[in-house]
Structure formats: C-alpha cells, structure tokens
C-alpha cells in the first residue's frame, strides 16, 4: 500500500491509525532520506500506542535506542544511522529487544536488513511534490 501525506501532522495521523493494528513483537522498519518524516511517523506510532503525550519523541541518532513505556505496549525506537556494523547492533542486546514483546520501530533500518526478522514490515518514506510525502509499504 502507499499513501501521500501533505504535512507532518498527516504523517503522524497515518502512523497513529496504524498503531491500532499493532501487536506485541511487531517490527516496523523505516527507510527514506533525511527529513522524509521517519521521526514524525514514530511520533504518530507513540501517540497511537497511548504513550503519554508529555514524552518527547526524537530521533535517537546518538543514543541509538530510546525505550518508551506507559502506553498500550512498550515502544523501542532505534536509529541505525550511526551504527557501523551488525556487531554493533548485536552488542546492544538486539536479540533481547526483539524478544521483549514490545513494538520496535527502526529508522535507517536498511543498513542491516539481514538482522531484521522475516515478519518485519518495511515502510519507505519519500519526498514528493510541494512538500508532500509518500509512505509506501514494501515487500522486502
């Protein structure tokens, strides 16, 4: 599937709706250029999972992973941008995160596609005309 959004708010709203269908252990892999809306997408997910609104959701570029609790399910927000090798990720206890029964969302997930389980759902965000964004689910 593929949709076009016309503002960060619309991107968040799309992800917020998507969150309702998520169950524990689901993994969402996000790809797309800088500024394509990956973090807005994640913010929408957090909101849809009822993670308290006063919790700031920002891209964990430097912390690599942020854990958000207090919602319907915990949300683990990864950013692979600064990771250099699959070992870096495994050294963070990646497998334990996948076992924890949370929702995992990953920015720059295509850096290590081999470490993502087969049931991962892939979403590609891209810039469109006049500031719009296309959000497309991909078969990976």
């Amino acid at each position: 599937m593929s949709i076009t959004t016309h503002s960060p708010e619309e991107t968040e709203a799309f992800a917020r709706n998507l969150a309702a269908s998520l169950k524990e252990g689901d993994i969402l892999a996000l790809t797309g250029d800088l500024g394509a809306g990956k973090t807005h997408f994640t913010r929408g997910l957090a909101n849809g999972l009822n993670i308290p609104a006063d919790v700031a959701i920002s891209s964990p570029t430097f912390s690599i992973v942020q854990e958000y609790s207090g919602g319907r399910l915990p949300l683990y927000h990864f950013d692979f941008y600064r990771l250099e090798s699959p070992h870096d990720l495994l050294d963070l206890g990646w497998d334990d995160y996948l076992d924890a029964g949370a929702i995992t969302v990953i920015e720059w997930a295509d850096k290590f596609p081999e470490l993502l389980p087969p049931h991962t759902s892939w979403w590609h965000l891209s810039h469109g005309a006049e500031g719009s964004r296309t959000i497309a689910e991909k078969i990976h």
């Binding site: 790809t31 990646w94 334990d96 076992d99 924890a100 081999e114």
Partner: protein, 207 residues
Amino acid sequence: MILALDTSSNHGDLAVVSLDGESIFHAPFRTERSHNSTLFPLLEEMFEALGDRSLLSHIAVGTGPGSYTGCRIGIAATQALSLALGIPVTGVPSICGILGAPQHIAVCGDARRGSFFYVEVKDGVMIDTPILGDQEFLVKSLACSGLPAFSLDSRSPLDDSQNITLAKVDAMTLASRVDVNIPSEPPTPIYLAAPFVSTPKVRPTRT
C-alpha cells in the same frame, strides 16, 4: 558456602549452597528484561538470611548461552560481589546447570536468524563449544547422537515431534559444578556468534 546465580534466561535462579551440597538459601525468580531490578533486592534478602557475609567462600555464575543482556548482568553482578567480598567467581556454562539431567545430554537452542546451536554436556561439563547450523543440521545432530535432548529456550527450538525437554537452570546444580580447589578464571559469556549474512546493503525498492 557457594553463592550461585544464573540470569541467562527469563527464569533466573539464585542459591547459596554449603560445600557439602546442602541448600542454605534458594530463590528462583522470573524476569522480563529487568534482571537488574529483580536481582539486587534478592541479593540483599540472601545476605540478610545468611547473616554473616564472610560465610561465602565462592561464587558461581551461569555464562549462557542465553540472553545476551541477561548473561552480562549476571557476570557483572557476581564480579562486583567477588571484588567486594574478596572471594573468587567461577563461570559455569548455564547448560551445565540443568537439574536432574542424565549423565550425557544434548543441549540445543535457537541462535536466531535461522540458526540453531547444538552442544553436548557430559558429567556436568560442556564438551567442546556450541556448534551452529541450520534447522536440518540440528535435526540431524539430535538424531545422530541419540542423546536425551534439552533446551533452555522458553519454547522448543524445533517442533514438538523432536522430543526436546524444556528445562530451567538450577543454581544449586550450577554450584555443584564448581571445583573449589581449582583457581578460577574471570567468567566470560558464551556468545553464539550468529552467522548472519553480510550481504551488500540492499535498499528496499523505491517507488
């Protein structure tokens, strides 16, 4: 007395055992990614029950294979205790701590990304290092050895027809594997180096 601890899975186990093998304190615990918050209150409880810390002479810690974070928490905690109490800590493979296991067994588990590990434990000692392979490898290894098969995973790594017994680590059994007369080496976790494929970085097809 030996303090034994295993945090390699969701089923943690803590025990204090006399050098004659008598149970002094035993506290199994269950954790979901929170070994650290569960473990330290239990250690305090153990010290209180024991009364005198100087009764402890050795520490045994399960080194996996198992949860990556869990193994590291157990090892870090016992190394800290070892330093604080001035007593040695010995790493014992967690798979050598299966209660009531026969003399010679096969232990297997899911090593992720389509790979599985197989290793044998004989007389309480891990023979060789775990071998990794695909599902067919595991099925064949189990069939060829004909040994009773065990796994510490929360669910069977293969389908039920393979007859793998799901087991938990028993800290008292772990303690019994320590030879207090042999100087201990610093414990190191048994990691299963998953043979993930480092393919060229394929990006999802763009629209």
